[in-house]
């Protein structure tokens, strides 16, 4: 399983999870084998330097990198569509270290980034224990 973490600095296992996806500077990509973190690498997010269309560019990059899971503080509407089409499991994390976020994910403690709500209307409603936190 390959996990991409949207990181807020220069990336790596000790960097922190970014509050945004499309315009975070770096992606830290790891492979999970068994329960071990392997092949840690950092790539630049093409969306960070793009004038517009950041979310789409960033999401395409994650799909191209063959990631299965994305961990980010949030996922915007445009990247959401690309990542959905790419069957990426999007998870929301507080701005903890990459290491902590991966562990939280492996423990099943990271909620889906954009919960789907009743009535078939994506993004509406505040149920499902989502709890808007100021993070």
């Amino acid at each position: 399983m390959r996990i991409c973490i949207a990181t807020s600095g220069s990336g790596g296992i000790n960097d922190f999870v970014s509050t945004v996806f499309g315009r975070c500077p770096t992606f830290t990509i790891v492979d999970i084998e068994g329960n071990e973190i392997k092949n840690i690498r950092v790539i630049q997010n093409p969306g960070y330097v793009s004038g517009s269309g950041a979310g789409v560019l960033a999401a395409q990059e994650i799909v191209n990198e063959g990631c299965n899971v994305l961990i980010s503080g949030s996922v915007g509407p445009n990247s959401y569509q690309v990542l959905m089409a790419g069957h990426i499991d999007m998870r929301a994390s507080p701005p903890t270290s990459v290491k902590d976020a991966i562990n939280l994910f492996l423990e099943g403690k990271l909620p889906v980034a954009v919960p789907v709500h009743g009535g078939g209307r994506r993004g509406m409603g505040m149920g499902m224990g989502r709890g808007h936190g100021p993070w």
Binding site: V20, A54, S74, P77, M124, P134
Partner: protein
């Protein structure tokens, strides 16, 4: 550090009026004020800004023709969706202000004569101060529309002031839910959504709400000019169903356009006008969102 964005979807419903009032009412909270409307920045008109610095902004990509390779076949001009390439009298040229840097011409060119030049000068970020805190405003060159990055850069400047004691960032977002509004919302903790009691404003507010939802910014609603359509109850229904708090209602106030014409925030122009009094009444209920 708390980031608070004022958004609405629909334009002209009172974003800048509310934001300027927040900046004045909460002036002791060490706020930085950011105009997030890169395409039509106008918040500085309300504040007496003392400009101190300008930073270059480079964001646009444009196509460039290598005339040594070009054989004037004109395929690029046919392909360009933006009509940014003109072929006339055996002369071909790219109109920079129309070019979006989309690459279509470079792909179609049989001579490989077109390349994309990145990070072209696109405008500037202006930094100044007001009596209510430091102020950041964008200024794009004519024809430049790539503005999400610009808004992000503005916000990053404000974020870097944390060490200087800035505790909150107030972002006046553009209308709509496009690139620059997404950039305004991204990373925000709170979204104050302004709506008028009309169907079009309500519908647009829902779209702004959805953005706030994506970016996990806690939303609040303010109804502006609520007394003009008192029977309109869709916003209240939405508020109950979705558990989004309506923090206050502002009455129609004919002093607001007058204050704008005088280039003064309504809070300064007339501290006793109906809208100012209403805001003074309910603003304390959100003082806890400020750091």
């Amino acid at each position: 550090m708390a980031e608070i964005v004022v958004a609405s979807g629909k334009g002209g419903v009172g974003k800048s009026t509310v934001l300027s009032s927040l900046a004045i009412f909460f002036r002791e909270k060490n706020n930085a004020i950011v105009d997030g409307d890169a395409e039509a920045p106008n918040l500085h008109l309300l504040f007496d800004v003392e400009w101190s610095e300008e930073r270059e902004y480079r964001g646009k990509s444009i196509a460039v023709i290598d005339y040594n390779k070009c054989n004037l076949c004109g395929k690029c001009a046919e392909t360009c969706e933006y009509r940014a390439i003109k072929l006339k009298n055996n002369e071909i040229k790219i109109l920079d202000y129309l070019c979006e840097g989309c690459l279509a011409c470079a792909v179609i060119c049989p001579e490989r004569a077109i390349s994309i030049k990145k990070d072209v000068y696109s405008g500037k970020i202006k930094i100044g101060k007001t009596e209510f805190g430091p102020f950041i405003s964008p200024e794009l060159e004519p024809g430049q529309s790539n503005s999400g990055k610009l808004v992000t850069e503005e916000k990053n400047i404000a974020r870097s002031w944390k060490e200087k004691g800035i505790k909150n960032i107030l972002v006046d977002s553009a209308a709509g839910i496009g690139c620059q509004v997404i950039a305004s919302m991204g990373g925000s903790n709170y979204a104050i959504l302004i709506a008028e009691p009309t169907k079009s404003s309500f519908s647009d507010m829902l779209r702004a709400y959805e953005l706030a939802y994506h970016f996990r910014a806690k939303p609040f609603i303010i109804i502006n000019k609520h007394d003009l359509n008192p029977d309109f109850d869709l916003i209240e229904k939405f508020s109950k169903e979705e558990d989004v708090e309506i923090i206050g209602k502002i009455p129609y106030d004919k002093n607001i356009p007058v204050s704008m014409a005088k280039r003064k925030p309504i809070f300064m122009y007339d501290p006793n006008s109906p809208s100012t009094r209403a805001m003074k009444d309910f603003f304390p209920t959100i003082s806890s969102i400020f750091d």
